[in-house]
């Protein structure tokens, strides 16, 4: 699964993109477990951040499809 990091998520992770070896859908909880295992610094933004899959926000109890691009979306600040 392609995983993208933006804004302070990218700063904390130290990268903007990764590829995770996952072949079946995972819950948002499982996603965060893996993200925090790889980048413990993300704990500081975990609660405020949302997840996206295939360019759409994933509900709190939703699933992320490994065939779709996933992204960590920290609090936005456009405009």
């Amino acid at each position: 699964m392609k995983v993208l990091y933006f804004s302070n998520a990218a700063s904390l992770a130290g990268c903007r993109e990764e590829h995770w070896e996952i072949d079946s859908p995972i819950s948002t909880e499982e996603f965060w477990t893996e993200a925090l295992r790889r980048h413990p610094q993300l704990a500081s933004i975990h609660i405020q951040s949302r997840l996206a899959s295939g360019g759409e926000y994933v509900p709190q109890k939703g699933l992320l499809d490994p065939r779709e691009e996933a992204a960590i979306i920290p609090p936005v600040s456009g405009g």
Binding site: N8, G55, V76, G78, G79
Partner: protein, 130 residues
Amino acid sequence: MNIEVQITNSVLALPPCHIPGCGAIARFEGVVRGIEDGQPIAALEYEAYLPMAEKVIREILTDLNELHPFAFSRVHHRVGVVPVGEAAIILDVHASHRAEAFAVLSKFMDRLKRDVPIWKVRAIKEARLS
């Protein structure tokens, strides 16, 4: 209802436009201030998650059109380095009457600041921008 969305590194400019049947054009420009967190700055740098940001902008405007019908809206957002005094966003709404145009303008900006994946990633303090 038509929607035009642009997310660009270039200086923003919305050319004049008149839609037949529209008696109201409401326009908003969000301009980079010279102060961020109480400190003087020279610019802000923005980044966006494309194409999700464009998609979410269209979804918000489509939602708002159901409550406040309008004929046309343009949303142009700049990314990269935006110097103080220049626009980070320009939005206009063309509607039959002012009530719909003002409502869409105001509610869109609230939703943008909550849901559209665009970020101010850093404030640049140097007088000489890079």
